[in-house]
Structures are given as structure tokens and as C-alpha cells.
């Protein structure tokens, strides 16, 4: 049976370019980067037909894709909102008020950690250390690190994301702040 899920032609071309970064016969190495591409292209999560398609592109078994996708925390195996809000909860962020940021988000959006707003706009997820301890507390949304958070800053980020109305992903262009 023909697999209906396909990468866009330009994504497929990029996928092939990535597969060319490894020696002949070692194309499985492209799996993690291709899963990121797939997640960005197919609504922010990896449905089984999407993973099957990635397996086909690389030329490996589907099970090899499932076992990898289920191991790494960045791959979502269930639908998520347009904007996945990933709030760091580990030590340095916790010491500087990450718990307050999470409860503020929960109150403001009317959902609990791990849930998605009914309009499908936001998902709250707590994550482990994102390497932004010097600018704690922080959260990641798409590629962007939002740092030195307080509740006002969180509100303005939510407003902006809502106004943009776009699905965020790890390939978003990022404004790199000056340190």
C-alpha cells in the first residue's frame, strides 16, 4: 500500500542532503535530524505514519524509528498545541522561581502541566535543564529561549505568541540576545 504521508519536496531534498553527511551505508545516522524535520512539518508531533515515512526515506525498519522516537524527550508521540511551552524545572531554575512560572502559566491558561488549551494554542510541559541556568528561570518555545522570566514577561510572551498565531518549531529563526 502506498504511504500517503510525504515530506514536501524541499524538505525531502534537505533530508537527502543530511543523509549525505555520513559514509555510504551509514544513513541511519540521519534518523535524529530527520525526525526533527518531520515533527516540524507534521504539526509538531510524530504520528505512526510519519515515522513509517521517515523509515522509508532512510531505508530502515519502522521499529528502528519507533525505538528512537520514544527514547528522546524532544519527540512528541502525542499531539501538542501550536506553542509548546517547555519550562525548565531543574535546580538553578527552581532556585530562582521556576515553580512560580509554572503555576502562573497554569492559572493564566487554565490547564495543568502536560495539558493543552482547548483552542489547541498552548501546551505546558516541564522539562529538565536546558543549559540556561545563568538566565534562570527560563522556558523554551520553538527554538527561542525566553530567559530571566517573571510573570509580566510571561504574559507578554503569551500575548505575542497568540497574536502571531503560528505553530512554533525548533527551526524558527531566533533573535539571539546580547549577553
Amino acid at each position: 500500500m502506498e504511504n500517503k504521508v510525504q515530506f514536501k519536496p524541499e524538505t525531502l531534498a534537505l533530508a537527502k542532503e543530511i543523509m549525505g553527511r555520513y559514509p555510504e551505508g551509514k544513513q541511519k545516522s540521519a534518523l535524529l535530524p530527520l525526525l526533527h524535520l518531520a515533527q516540524a512539518e507534521f504539526n509538531g508531533w510524530l504520528d505512526v505514519p510519519v515515522m513509517d515515512m521517515v523509515a522509508e526515506v532512510i531505508g530502515i525498519q519502522s521499529i528502528e524509528v519507533y525505538e528512537v522516537a520514544s527514547f528522546y524527550s524532544m519527540y512528541n508521540l502525542k499531539p501538542v498545541g501550536n506553542c509548546l511551552l517547555e519550562i525548565c524545572r531543574t535546580s538553578s531554575c527552581w532556585l530562582r522561581g521556576a515553580e512560580d512560572i509554572v503555576s502562573h502559566l497554569e492559572n493564566k491558561l487554565g490547564i495543568k502541566e502536560g495539558e493543552t488549551t482547548p483552542d489547541g494554542m498552548f501546551t505546558i510541559k516541564t522539562v529538565e535543564c536546558l543549559g540556561s541556568c545563568g538566565t534562570a528561570p527560563m522556558m523554551q518555545c520553538g527554538a527561542q529561549f525566553h530567559e530571566n522570566l517573571d510573570t509580566d514577561k510571561v504574559d507578554s510572551i503569551l500575548d505575542k505568541l497568540r497574536a502571531d498565531g503560528k505553530r512554533t518549531n525548533y527551526f524558527d529563526a531566533v533573535v539571539v540576545k546580547e549577553y
Binding site: 559514509p23 535524529l32 525526525l35 528522546y72 524527550s73 524532544m74 529538565e128 541556568c133 529563526a173
Partner: protein
């Protein structure tokens, strides 16, 4: 003021770009190595420098390089470990995003020394914007002739790629990183064989941290001896310290190894003191895995000597009264912080990040998290402290990779130095419940 080797130009406007980086002497180490040195001579300088792995383990880099097997007709690889995930550590992100060409330059010079025609920079996936910065810089380096075929007309060919991770702390362990780079789950391999003999796709491979590879640039430019003259004893050179927590000036600081801890915490050049005028309670000096120390023991060794920011001084006293330099992730806690609750965030972290291969770690980290959750949420009993102690002892040393140890040490040190805080927390809740 500490001598700067890595962060000399990090505040120059436009230093991210090739032109500005080159204007400030960038790529000189590649020219020097490729045109005037043999690969063996570069390895020799790195050995002389006394450089030790900056990812956390502190293993001598020159020695690691000299273990690289060189069978005829088999490709060799250099892999940069940019899977920076140790809680409290963010120096590599700073270096890569501020001065991406510094890492690329170090990668080319190091690859020449190792005879690697291909290298990969494995960056944790959450740093996707850093990957974009690195890929742009690599493109510039190709265009300027520092990468590709016949670099500088010397006959040395080199290709460099960036590889994203998928979100897994364990991939900072070098064999798990290689598994991941091969498109698999990040389960650490049983060693030996070490990557130097059987690494990426079974080929000889060197895996080095970002900062380690960057340090090769000044070592080649100024010579290994000049590098070794900086620092103290076997802690040579400079180190990037990620300072976070309850301090006035969190950030990345380059220090000469041997700087007194007191000066690092209290000087305005570095942390600027504990925030809000509060007192220092505890410090995790080298990333979440190293033992936590109370204020008196981080400032002075048990023998009363001033504690220094060096591999040896921080380890002075062993685990009874010392800690480790680790990755340089320096987390400061003020007098209001709960060491027990902070420990719970660590325990939750290790439980989440255990790959699940070895049962002491898979089961033990979950059990420790549960017991700490119980204590922190007001249901602890005195016997839980001994249970935690018992659990960490049964994990330490009983796993394939050091994640088990890394999960055990914070628990052991918190009980060793802050047992009364556990007891107070349990007692105060017991009163509440009564």
C-alpha cells in the same frame, strides 16, 4: 584579572561573523599547524599543555589523543561533545553562540593532529538556534577555504557537520553520544573497547568537549608550555565557569585555574556576592553530579586551607569534605534555600535521564526520587534518610556508565553535610500532621 584565552574577544561587535573573527587573529592556529607543524607535533604541544577534558571528567587530553588507534585504510573521526546537559552548565552554549568560529578553528586544528578527515559537532537538540549559528559559520569557513579539499594548499582535506541530538542527558556520555550519532537510542556502550579504538561506526574516534577543543587554539598559537604556565599544579590553563543560582551576577566567567573560591563568589569581577545581602549556605561546584558542600567547606578545606578553583583543591578531602571541579557548573544556594528540595530536583532529573539499561540506576533513581518526593511533600519518616543512604550506595559503582554515580553523589553528600535539614523537614511536617 584572570588571563583570557577563550573569551578574549567575546564582546567584540560582530565576532560571530568570519570577517571580524579573522580580523582578531582567528584561524591562526590552523595556519600554524598545517603549514609549520606535523600532526605529532600538535599532539605533543597538547600533551605539554597539561590540558584536561573540560566536559567534567578532567582526563588529560593529550593522553586521550595518543590512545587513538591508526590502522591503515580505516577512517578516524573527531566528534565534538556539545551535548551540554549537566544541570548548572551553560558555558558551551555561550562559547558556540558568541564565537562559533573559535570551536570550528579548534576542530580543524585538532582534526589535523588526529588525522581525521571528517568531524561532527553533536549539539543537544534543544540548542537548535546554536546549530543554526554553527552551520552558518561552517559555511563561511568553507567559503574562505578553511574547510573542504586541500586546505591552504597543504593537501589536508576536512569536512565538518553539525548533528542535533534529541533531548537526552545520557548522550553527553561519549559512547552514548556515538550510539546517538549512529541513529540509535543513547545507551552507553560497555568499555573496553574505548572509542579511541572502536568509536563511530566502529572506527577510531576521539570525543572531546567544546571547551577542550577550543583550548587547542591558544595551545597551538602560544605553545603548550605557555598554556601550562597558567593555572596551578596539574590544573593548567583557564576554565569556563557557569555561575548560577543565588548570586548577584550569574553568567559565564573564564578564570585562571587556582582562583580562590572566596574571590570567585564575592568579587565583582565574577559572581558579585550572594544576592539580596543574604548569607551563603551551600554550593554545587561542578554541575549537579558533584557533591554539594556547605559554605564553610567550599570556602576552606577541612585542613583550613583556602579552597581554590582547581581540580585538586576542590577534591581535597575526598568526598568526606571535598567535591569536584566537574564541568564548572557552579550553583550557589543562599541561606533560605532548601538543600533537600534542591536535591529532589536533582533526583527527579536523574530518574528522567536514566537510559534504563542497568537496573541499579533505572530502579534506584526512581526510588530515590519517590522517597525525596515523599519527604519534600510532608510525608517523610526518619527511616527514609537511611533508606536514601542505602539506595545511593547500591547504585554507585554498579552501572555501565557514570550516570549512576552522578545520581548517587548528590544524595550522599546532602545527607553527609545536611542530615539535620532532612530531620528538621521530617519533624516539622510530623508536628503539622499531629
Amino acid at each position: 584579572m584572570s588571563k583570557k584565552l577563550l573569551l578574549k574577544h567575546d564582546h567584540e561587535p560582530g565576532i560571530q561573523s568570519y570577517e571580524v573573527y579573522r580580523k582578531h587573529g582567528g584561524y591562526a592556529s590552523v595556519e600554524k599547524a598545517l603549514k609549520t607543524m606535523t600532526p605529532e607535533a600538535v599532539v605533543e604541544e597538547v600533551k605539554k599543555s597539561g590540558l584536561r577534558g573540560r566536559g567534567g571528567a578532567g582526563f588529560p587530553t593529550g593522553m586521550k589523543w595518543s590512545f587513538l588507534a591508526k590502522p591503515e585504510g580505516v577512517p578516524r573521526y573527531l566528534v565534538c561533545n556539545a551535548d551540554e546537559s549537566e544541570p548548572g552548565t551553560f558555558k558551551d552554549r555561550y562559547l558556540m553562540s558568541r564565537i562559533p568560529h573559535f570551536l570550528i578553528e579548534g576542530m580543524i586544528t585538532s582534526s589535523f593532529a588526529l588525522g581525521a578527515k571528517t568531524s561532527y559537532i553533536y549539539v543537544r537538540g534543544e540548542y537548535y538556534y546554536v546549530i543554526a549559528i554553527l552551520e552558518k559559520a561552517i559555511k563561511e569557513a568553507y567559503a574562505a577555504g578553511w574547510l573542504g579539499k586541500n586546505i591552504l594548499g597543504t593537501g589536508f582535506d576536512h569536512d565538518m557537520y553539525v548533528q542535533p541530538g534529541g533531548g537526552a542527558y545520557i548522550c553527553g556520555e561519549e559512547t552514548a553520544l556515538l550510539e546517538s550519532l549512529e541513529g540509535k537510542r543513547g545507551n552507553p556502550r560497555i568499555k573496553p573497547p574505548f572509542p579511541a579504538v572502536k568509536g563511530l561506526w566502529g572506527c577510531p574516534t576521539v570525543v572531546n568537549n567544546v571547551e577542550t577543543i577550543a583550548a587547542v587554539v591558544p595551545i597551538v598559537n602560544d605553545g603548550g608550555e605557555a598554556y601550562a604556565a597558567i593555572g596551578i599544579g596539574k590544573s593548567t590553563g583557564t576554565k569556563l565557569i557557569s555561575a548560577s543560582g543565588h548570586i548577584n551576577k550569574p553568567g559565564v566567567y573564564e578564570i585562571e585555574l587556582g582562583l580562590p573560591v572566596d574571590e570567585f563568589i564575592n568579587s565583582d569581577e565574577y559572581c558579585g556576592g550572594v544576592w539580596k545581602g543574604r548569607k551563603l549556605k551551600a554550593v554545587v561546584a561542578g554541575g549537579s553530579s558533584v557533591p554539594v558542600l556547605p559554605a564553610d567547606l567550599i570556602m576552606k578545606t577541612a585542613a583550613g586551607e583556602p579552597r581554590l578553583m582547581s581540580y585538586e583543591s576542590l577534591a581535597d578531602g575526598g568526598f568526606a569534605s571535598g567535591t569536584m571541579l566537574g564541568s564548572g557548573g557552579f550553583i550557589v544556594m543562599d541561606e533560605t534555600a532548601s538543600v533537600v528540595k534542591n536535591l529532589w530536583t536533582f533526583a527527579r532529573f536523574y530518574h528522567h535521564e536514566s537510559c534504563g539499561q542497568c537496573s541499579p540506576c533505572r530502579e534506584g533513581t526512581g526510588w530515590m526520587e519517590k522517597v525525596l518526593h515523599k519527604i519534600v511533600h510532608g510525608h517523610g519518616e526518619m527511616k527514609d534518610i537511611d533508606l536514601l543512604w542505602d539506595l545511593q550506595r547500591k547504585i554507585e559503582g554498579n552501572t555501565i556508565c557514570p550516570l549512576g554515580d552522578a545520581a548517587a553523589w548528590p544524595v550522599a553528600s546532602a545527607i553527609r553535610h545536611f542530615r539535620s535539614e532532612f530531620e528538621e523537614m521530617i519533624n516539622s511536617h510530623a508536628v503539622e500532621h499531629a
